[in-house]
């Protein structure tokens, strides 16, 4: 069985497979990549690098987009 790790996505605890790339996580979440920005531990991740970064225990991922606002 694959080792699992705990990460936070948008403030919520998630348990995912160890050695998951951010690109795979985004794909699983079905997030429209062109319409969002992604932050890993408060650092913005260039979308070209998403398939190069593996998530690790206690990572904090933020996925944001535009919503209505004043």
């Amino acid at each position: 069985m694959k080792k699992k790790i705990k990460i936070k996505i948008n403030g919520k605890l998630n348990i995912i497979d160890n050695k998951t790339k951010i690109s795979a996580l985004i794909k699983n979440l079905k997030v429209p990549i062109k319409k969002v920005a992604i932050e890993l531990n408060k650092e913005i991740i260039d979308k070209k690098r998403l398939n190069k970064i593996y998530l690790k225990e206690n990572d904090k991922v933020e996925i944001v987009h535009f919503i209505g606002g004043g």
């Binding site: 079905k30 408060k42 260039d46 919503i67 606002g69």
Partner: protein, 259 residues
Amino acid sequence: MILKQDKLIISKKKFNSRLIVGTGKYKNMKECAKAIKLSGADIVTVAVRRVNITNKKKPLLMDFIDPKKITYLPNTAGCFNSEEALRTLRLAREIGGWKLVKLEVLGDKKNLFPEMIETLKSTEILTKEGFRVMVYCNDDPLMAKRLENVGAAAIMPLAAPIGSGLGIQNKVNIQIIRSQTKLPLIIDAGLGQASDATVAMELGCDGVLVNTAIAKANKPFEMAKAFKNAVIAGRQSFLSGRIEKKIMGSASSPTKGII
């Protein structure tokens, strides 16, 4: 001047409409999109928030308002310090290369007045990072000057507290700011009805930003049209050069030939 050729220019970019509208507080996105269309706005403010990853069917703003047709102006509404504001706008830029942004750093949760020290600091940092920063600020001419000195792309003083609907409270300050700057001057926040927008334009402002007054009107679509017309009327009136104010009457009909 022919009004058709009279464009709003912000950071060398030309816009046909001098009305900027917010996209918050509408019943739903369909209503928001229709109101924006009727307002004729070329620029809309948007907020940066977490994606709802549990409910993927929630409609996306970009599906209703096409950022290729209307300029998205990412806004830092809800940020209470420089750090949060910078983080928000850097993320906004990452979403799609937005460099023209609206900075709003609030200082008080009740009156929603801007925290000007943090705002000034953020304006300087963002400008150095290549952002073109339109700055929500109080109606203080000295602070407006300081924002200009650190590279603001537009000065956006409040008319009154955000969402208050009170209209311009301090016309004199707005006029002083107008007289001292060539930067785009855009009234942001506190307008309540269409005539408030006309007043702003007649004071020589380059534009107005409206959200609540349209979104929360009984008939948002009609109010969107009213604001569109009010901004055009105010601009036309300003460009036409108003008459001098006098305390005595001056008859409109000639006195010669009275029977």
